[in-house]
């Protein structure tokens, strides 16, 4: 069983599987891994960065993502199972949530079909609950958007199983400021991606306040951060 020279076996494997998405940070593939449907997230080298810095950053993002996924599971928050991590190519092999859709797509189709109100309310409530739980664990997602949340069953009809993904920018913090900023990022992403959803987001925050034990300080900070944001008056 001598080591084979040349290109990494992981990279060779990735050449054989289907490329789903290419982002600025990573390439996402879909394929079968050890008999199970899987997603591979490859954080490829960024040539525009200094190589030493690139290696450090990429490794840190991979490690943070993987640690946070386990933290979520331990707290009872749905997150994909990690099957394998290759720290040389910074590639994460995860469970593929077959049949799931992003919350983003769900909201868009629900709005188009116009019978949206009750399902979106259920969804907002669930989102608030999950985020409340996450922040109670002092876990900051760092990149909350509706594209980073999946509905495992593809609907809100039966049990709403909301799955959080993409924890590359996550970190641990007990500060209400950081949690407030986390929610602010979501608010901005939410309102810009989904027009006319202010009421839905309000319900989300209400549900968050009800589920999280430390929420009042966080909501207070969120209001402060909103006043601070871009194109805001810095008066008094």
């Amino acid at each position: 069983m001598a080591a084979v020279e040349g290109e990494s076996h992981v990279l060779q494997f990735l050449k054989r599987v289907e490329l789903l998405k290419q982002g600025a940070e990573a390439r996402v593939y879909r394929g079968e891994f050890l008999g199970k449907p899987a997603i591979m997230k490859e954080r490829f080298p960024k040539l525009y960065r200094h190589p030493v810095l690139d290696e450090k950053l990429t490794r840190r993002r991979t490690v943070q993502e993987v640690r946070s996924l386990l933290r979520c599971r331990k707290a009872g928050i749905s997150a994909p199972v990690v099957y394998f991590v290759d720290y040389t190519t910074h590639c994460i092999f995860l469970e593929d949530m077959v049949g799931s859709i992003t919350v983003r797509d769900y909201i868009n189709t629900a709005q188009v079909s116009q019978k949206d109100a009750p399902c979106l309310e259920v969804l907002a409530k669930k989102m608030g609950q999950i985020l409340g739980k996450m922040h109670d664990e002092d876990l900051i997602h760092g990149d909350l958007t509706t594209s980073n949340m999946l509905l495992r069953n593809g609907s809100v009809d039966r049990d709403v199983d909301l799955v959080l993904i993409d924890f590359g920018l996550s970190y641990i913090s007990a500060l209400p400021e950081d949690k407030g900023v986390d929610l602010y990022v979501l608010e901005k992403a939410f309102l810009s991606t989904h027009p006319n959803t202010e009421a839905m987001f309000e319900k989300l925050l209400k549900s968050y306040a009800a589920s999280s034990k430390k929420s009042s300080a966080v909501i207070k900070k969120l209001d402060e951060v909103r006043l601070r944001g871009r194109k805001r008056s810095m008066v008094g």
Binding site: H9, L34, Y83, V85, Y87
Partner: protein
């Protein structure tokens, strides 16, 4: 009976698993393994939830061997080490490797895909009854696994025991 599966990252190798219950000579088997008369990993099946768990451990072992980052001295001991949720090697061998008093054993072999590895030598050495590998859950000690892996009650709610175990196996080096 036995289960042979391929590894997507290493198409040149396959992993064969065998399972035995009512084993009478666990101590002898252990001695044989240490003397390198058996070319395989001898695992305590009480700590295994599903054959997938073994596959994940074998995949990781082959990977670290290829990149030169093994923590133990051989591929087979690395497979046993990978099954453990901690980075303590001796604890891994104690908890997941075969012990002298064990009444069942799971044998894991890694070999080249083309060569049909005969399992007669293994069958001859084990004094016990071979059972299908996919029946391994009958031998699983769920309570012991939950305790060792520190599975929280909320975690059991949102996923299977196998999910919890696999996740910890995959992440333990950076925990």
């Amino acid at each position: 009976m036995q289960l042979t599966q391929k590894l997507d990252l290493f198409p040149e190798y396959v992993v064969t698993q065998l399972l035995f219950k009512d084993v009478k000579n666990a101590a002898d088997l252990r001695k044989s393994a240490i003397a390198q008369e058996i070319s395989g990993a001898l695992i305590n099946p009480a700590m295994i939830v599903d054959p997938f768990q073994i596959l994940v451990a074998a995949n990781k072992a082959l990977h670290v061997q290829k990149v030169g980052k093994m923590k133990t001295r051989s591929l087979y001991s690395e497979i046993i080490f990978n099954l453990s949720p901690t980075n303590n090697i001796s604890e891994a061998f104690k908890k997941f490797g075969l012990s002298d008093g064990d009444g069942a054993v799971a044998v894991v072999l890694v070999h080249a895909a083309e060569e049909t590895r005969s399992t007669d030598d293994i069958l001859a050495k084990v004094d016990g009854q071979q059972i299908p590998v996919n029946q391994i859950s009958c031998l699983t000690d769920v309570a012991k696994i939950k305790k060792l892996f520190k599975i929280t009650p909320q975690e059991e709610h949102s996923g299977t025991l196998l999910d919890a175990v696999i996740c910890r196996m995959a992440i333990k080096d950076v925990l």
